[in-house]
Each structure stands twice: as C-alpha cells, then as structure tokens.
Amino acid sequence: MTERENPALSELEGRLAEKDREIGRLKAELRAWEKAWGRIPKRDDALFTSISGREVKPVYTPLDLAEDGGYLEDLGLPGEYPFTRAPYTTMYRTRLWTMRQFAGFATAEETNQRYKYLLAHGQTGLSVAFDFPTLMGYDSDHPRSLGEVGVCGVAISSLADMETLFDGIPLDQVSVSMTINGPAVILFAFYVAAAERQGVSHQALRGTVQNDILKEYQAQHAWVYPPEPALRLIVDMFEWCSQHAPKYNPISISGYHIREAGATAGQELAFTLGNGFEYVERGRARGLDVDRFAPRLSFFFDVHNDFFEEVAKFRAARRIWARHLREKYQARDPESWRLRTHAQTAGVSLTAQQPESNIVRVAYQGLAAVLGGTQSLHTNSMDETLALPTEKAVRIALRTQQILAYETGVPNTTDPLGGSYYVEALTDQLEAEAEEIFKQVEEIGGVVSGIEAGWFQKGIADSAFRQQVEVESGQRKVVGVNDFTEGSESIEIDTLRISPEIEEKQRARLARLRAERDEARVGDALAALRAAAETGDNLVDPILDCARAWCTLYEIREAMERVFGSYKEPVFF
C-alpha cells in the first residue's frame, strides 16, 4: 500500500482542507464585519489601548492565535511544561493562595502586635516591611536615619529586634517574607539567628527574602554595594540555602517595583525575567548546578489595572521562564522550570482622592492575580496613598481576598481564561515583546552594563512620563482624579501616624544592646567577616556569626563596605 492510498492519511488531508476552508470563511466574514464595525460611531472619551500603551483590537478570533505550536507545546496542562496554564497540577483546590499582607511600622514590638492581629484574622503568611534606614542598612541611631525610624516600616537594627518581631510566632510554622535587598543577607542572618533562638533548625525554615539587587539599581533604589559584590552575596545565599535551608527561597525576583516606577507590563515582564536569567548565569558561573538552586528562585509581580493584560502577563512569565530554563540553561528538574510568584495590587494605581474607591480597584486587581494563577497575594489598603494603613483598612483588604477565595467560585477551576482568544493573543504578544527586550539587553552588553548606562532607568522613566501625559491630557480617565471628581475636594479618612517617640524608644533599645553586649566578641566577629570578604569565601556563615554576636546592621554593613565600596547611581532624568 502506497502513502497515497493510506485511508487515515487521506482522512487527515480532508480534515486539514476543511479547516483551511473554515479559516478562509472566517477571514472573509471578519473583513465584512470590520467594514460594518467601521461604519458605527465609537465613544471618543476613551483610549482604546491598554495602560501600557498596547493597541487592543475590538474583537479577537482564532485568527489571532499563534500559528506555530499546538496546545500542548504552548499551553500544556496545569502543572506541566510550559506551565502557561498554572504552575501546579491542582492549584487552589489543594491550597488557596497565601494571603500575605505586607506590614511593618514603628518598633518590633508594635509590628509584632500587628502580625498577631493579622494572623488572628485569618492571614496565612507574614510579610515584613522594614523602615527606610533598615532598607539602606543604617541603624536606628545613625545620623542618616533621623526622622525616618519606624515611619515607613519596622526598624530592625539587630538580632534583638528580630527576636522581638517574631516573639510568640513560631518560625517553623508561619512562612515569612522579608522585603529587603541591599543589606538582605544581614537581615536574613538576623532571621536565621532568631529562629535558632526559638529552637527552629535551618532545615525547617520557610519563607522568602526579596534579595533582588538588580531591580534596586533599575527601579527601587535601596542599594548598598556596587553590582559585582552585591551579586556575589546573592549567589552566596543561593549556595548556603541550597545546603542548609532547602525550603527557604533565597530570592524573590521582583517586577513589582519596576512596574510601580512606571514600566509597562511588557517592560516589567522582560526586565524581571531578564534579571532572573542573570541570577541563573551568576549561579552557574559559581559552579552551582542549576537544578540545585533554580527550584528556589521565586518571583513577585505587580497586578495593575488593565485586567486581561495582567492575567496574560502571569501566564507569559511562566512560559518564558520554563522555556529558557529548559532549553537555554539545560535545567533537567521540572522544579527548575516552574515559575512561582507572589503578587501585589498596584499601589501606584490608588488615588488619594475618594480613597474608598480604592477598595474596588484592589478587588479587580486581586481577581486578575488569582486568574493569573498567583501563589500568594497582598491586597493594598485603601489609604496607602495617604499613610501607612490603619487596622480597619488592612482588614478590608484582607476581607477582599477572602471574598474572592470563598464567595466568587473563581478558585474552583484552573486558568479559566485559558483559551480566550484575547488572553491567548496577549500572552503570545507579551512573550514576543519580552524576547525582543532580551535581545536589546544582550546588545547593550547585559543587565549590569544596562544598569550602569541607565538604560533600564531611562526606559522606565520614559514610560512613566507617557502615562502621566495621558492622564493630564484627560485621554486616560482616572476616576476621582481627572473625572468624576465630585467628592474629591477634601480627604477625610483616619490615618495611622507614627509618633516621634518611636525613634527615641528605638534608639534607647539600641543603646541598651550596645551597653550589654560583649564588645570583644563583636570586634572579633566583624574582623572575621572583613577578612572573609577579602577572599572568595561564602560570607553567609561569617555574617551569621556577627548576628549571633549582637553586631548591629550598620556594623555588619560597614565591615563589608570597607572591602566592597558603595554604589553610586548614574543621575539623569
């Protein structure tokens, strides 16, 4: 029997021909439909582009789906390569996303009370917001900390503060996320040492430290050291955690701050994943097997206003990460391909005018994050453009997640928007846009060169300016800001205020610590750290020794700074 006569083959040919005819008919009908569409007047009070400036078609059809690649290759099943539909097989039927509200203010004592309040109201994980001095590696009694202690987060200057922060909160049971970058390894050491004092082993530690310095240079700007030593410390963390704390995520590669600084969804996606690839390359350059550390790399994305674009962004992120890790970096363990992420609703989208409306913005954004398949979520409080959130505002934000989880039915099925012509087309477009940006980054010599040249910073600032122009020209409506402003005249809402006495109290705590500790032990630990920094040794253990010896944050920062120097930003606007 020749191929020509194979009945299965001719049936297949017949079906393909039928499919071609149907596509031809669809194309013809779509052309006619577009003509009719063109004749009908449209609203002239809206931009029909996404908030990122993406052109949006009036309708999407099967013609918008990628021609190459089939369902299994591009989408797959939940928990299976390329993870477009979901990172896990059973998703929210096994475990809902972790409801993790970012919180911290005043001293460790006040924040410890807030954590207990949140846990009592059904929150399932903790997320530490540090004050600016801590974020920059300054002790509360450093001259540069004046006026900022405990104001935007909690002040943590030593192991003693960290112990108070988690007093009565078992660190082997509650997973804790810490947003800290420049001095991340030092705060991580305080955390590990606090767990030790609770009798919790390194093996049992869960949680995440943000520790993503690349996006600090690009967007968030809480840096300490220059890129090379900073990256060395991060790889030290990868190595140490893979050996000692295998359930701990030593990094959360973050797009959130990139987006908040003004990036588009495509820039957020591409810069973040590009940073992720840079960390993978750094780990490999150290000689670490990619499958030893890649499974513990975690992510953090913003979830902004443009609903479908945001859902697609999460899907595209998973597919891009999986493809690069498997194909380019030759990871063999599926855990290395699986992108797991935290999400936070867009702080920058909140308005100071009519702040109660923010509850609604946050609810839509939270819905997009869950439809995008996030593993954990922070929903912003309505009053965050005005001050730190009050307890009431935080409770409403948490309730928003609980309503989503228990009342809407949304978590019942995985990736319910998968197969939507629009969402699939957006997912493909975002992936293509990211690939294009990866090429540009390569052309400018990689991520670190791009940072030094201000390439990322300029791209973000330009996008921010375009968005501002759209809002100020009235083309992009913001409810309560440039339209529907009745009720926006005065802002009457209770806000949380941090008393100046907090700074005094924290300085007194620190003075007591300095008076009571063994200075010789402090000096020895710092000298050992400085000596180790001069070599290529892994610095996590020496830093941990400093933490146990009650060295302060700034003392540890400074010991390394003497060897590493500090970072100077390229200034422009």
Binding site: F132, S145, E148, V348, T385, L386, A387, E569, V571
Partner: protein
C-alpha cells in the same frame, strides 16, 4: 539679559533614604518642558547636600519629593539650612505623601505649596511661574 528674564532655575531634590523617584523624574521632565532650567540631585541626599547644591547652582526654587513620611523632619531642616546659607529668598516647595494637616503646618513655617498624589504637573508649573512673577514685582 535683565535678571527678570532669566530662566527659572529649579533644583529637584530627593532627600532622605526614600528611593521612590518616579514623581521626581516626572516633575523634572515637566519643569524642563515648561522652560525651566532643571537640576536633579539624584537619590539619598542629606539636607546639607541639597542646600549646598542649591547655593552652588544658584537656583530660584528647591522642589523636594518626599514619600517616606519624614517630611516633618526634612522640610524644616532644609528651610533652616537655606536661611543659614543666606538663601532665604529661595522658594522651598515639593510634593509626596504628605497629609493635608502637615502641609498646612509646614506652610505656616515658611515652606511653599506642597502637592499631593494625583496633582497635575501643570499645577506645580503654574505655581512656580506665579511665584516667580510675584518676586519680579516685589523687585526680588
């Protein structure tokens, strides 16, 4: 060129440890588009660094962006240092996450208008232009 026709010189400054520079960069670009001479300090500046830059650059206006909640420390300190440097004719203005009652308290202490979230950049531009016109009339 008569003094009055000189371009308005503005120092856009980020004091303190706060790294949020989206607003500072947007306002700097808007000031430049409005025809001002703009100098941007970059991040993490102390009040001393800001005042020294203001004096060195001979600016008319210092516009500080503060999103860290430390405004009640930073604005008065810069005000005080400007006076010490004999630059009390410089307008100190700014914006950020600053509650209205704090704005009023700072204005009572001689700080210019402060702008909260959601303000159009043209409002800040108009304010500075008006201030400059008023100064010319006062013969400043």
């Amino acid at each position: 060129m008569p003094e009055g026709d000189r371009k308005i010189r503005v120092l856009v400054a980020k004091p303190g440890l706060d790294g949020h520079d989206r607003g500072a960069k947007v306002i700097a670009s808007a000031f430049r588009d409005a025809g001002f001479e703009v100098i941007y300090t970059g991040l993490h500046q102390t009040p001393e660094m800001i005042v020294s830059a203001a004096v060195q650059e001979d600016v008319d206006v210092v516009a500080m962006s503060v999103l860290s909640g430390a405004h009640m420390t930073l604005f008065p300190r810069v005000m005080e240092l400007l006076e010490e440097a004999g630059a009390e004719d410089v307008l100190l203005t700014g914006g950020g996450i600053i509650p209205e009652e704090d704005m009023r308290a700072l204005q009572e202490r001689g700080v210019g208008r402060l702008f909260g979230p959601g303000t159009a950049t043209r409002e800040a531009v108009a304010y500075i232009k008006e201030w400059a016109a008023g100064r010319r009339e006062r013969g400043g």
